[in-house]
Symmetry: C2
Subunit: 251 residues, 2 copies
């Protein structure tokens, strides 16, 4: 028996998300189907976390156990030749048996990409959130500064399905080690977040309110007040999924 | 009556090409449908040329005549609000009545994008042709040098549907004013072509053979011999459509 870790990039546009679901095809299912064929035994894949429908991954991690003796390089090649182009296995590693993609993770990083072009190029429409406004970058940076560190993010958690096993004892408290705004070019912004864990829709909810601040509809002080209020109702809308990328899971 | 020029960006992935066709939705149809609604009269759009299924445009040009009095800025806004995100009107200009998107064009420019990454990021799969090989750039540049100037490109023309009105007298002779290889980054190459006209599949056929040279399966001298032979059978395969972009039509 071996314990194998996959590092996976995917285009979430055509999927109902990472996690297996009744209605719609998930990335997990797509991978399990091909793994089951190649390994010639029923495979269950355990992901490092979930992503919503339309959210992308540069490097999702997942593990599975198998009795198949197929060498790692051949397994990776076989997977990529059988998977659709929307899902790519970018690395494959044999781990010790106690490695768990979810429970062994120390931190995760996400990017949220924005374009402020007046007209969005068509090939960006599923990969970058279009916000055709002058965004006040200093004010948005003040919001990012406010969330770095350990905070109760209840204001930015969507109700339901909190991961109980991981959150025992810490409720909606999370530590954000890094929250930065990178200006990729004149019209493209990338919001970068790293932390020990993220609540349901947390980054999309944060981005919804940060964009309100960028548009001058709220102030950085409003943002801080919303964070402190620990009330979801105080915050802004949930930003769309297609600008969001899971970029790294650290072990 | 006004004569209006549209400059259009589109993602060709979901279309059967620019030109109206019986089987499949074309970009032209998509635009004509919305124009007919907004202008409240039957609109026929005349494009600067055709693009194949899967080929993209950063700036296709097209014109139409209308009696509608709607101001240009409103027309552009209305179009973009009614069109799907895959098609964007990036400019709209009122022209003199003798302007014709096809016959008034002096030159066109195309880009062909290649990625040489070992594994292609999923979000590039419809927008960049994946060629996971070490490509010999100097040899490919020698091919590009060989096609600059006035040549008979019969070896790189796919049979059928040559535009008779435009090609009277010049057969498969075309003048390429510029053919360059730009290295976007370590793993991304952009082949840039400008000329007074292009034959059917000409750039995709040129790219098919240039990539053979890049992979060292043919030499730059072979390429020159193929060009001189004026026989389609001498050249390589047709490169896939999704790396190709119409980037400019000059008037």
């Amino acid at each position: 028996m071996r314990n194998i870790r996959l590092t996976i990039a995917y285009d979430g546009s055509g999927y109902c998300g990472w996690q297996r679901q009744k209605n719609g095809l998930s990335v997990q299912e797509e991978l399990e189907r091909v793994l089951t064929t190649i390994c010639n035994e029923e495979i269950t894949l355990h992901g490092a976390g979930r992503t919503d429908a339309g959210v992308h991954a540069r490097a999702m991690a997942a593990h599975f156990h198998t009795n198949s003796p197929i060498p790692p390089a051949n397994l990776q090649k076989g997977l990529n030749s059988m998977l659709p182009g929307a899902v790519r296995v970018i690395a494959l590693d044999v781990m010790s048996m106690d490695f768990h993609a979810r429970f062994s993770a120390h931190s995760k990083s996400y990017h949220y990409r924005i374009s402020t072009d007046r007209i969005q190029p068509p090939w960006e429409r599923n990969y970058v959130t279009h916000v055709p406004f002058e965004l006040t970058r200093d004010d948005m940076r003040a919001c990012l500064d406010a969330i770095e560190g350990c905070h109760d993010f209840a204001s930015f958690e969507t109700a339901g399905s909190r991961d109980r096993e991981l959150t025992t004892g810490r409720g909606s408290v999370r530590t954000i080690s890094r929250a930065r705004l990178v200006e990729e070019d004149e019209h493209h912004l990338c919001f970068e977040f790293s932390g020990d864990g993220f609540l349901r829709h947390m980054i999309r909810n944060l981005m919804g309110t940060i964009l309100e601040v960028g548009k001058k509809r709220k102030s950085p002080q409003d943002f801080t007040n919303i964070l402190r209020s620990r009330k979801r109702s105080a915050a802004g809308a949930t930003a769309p999924p297609h600008g969001l990328y899971l970029v790294e899971v650290k072990y």
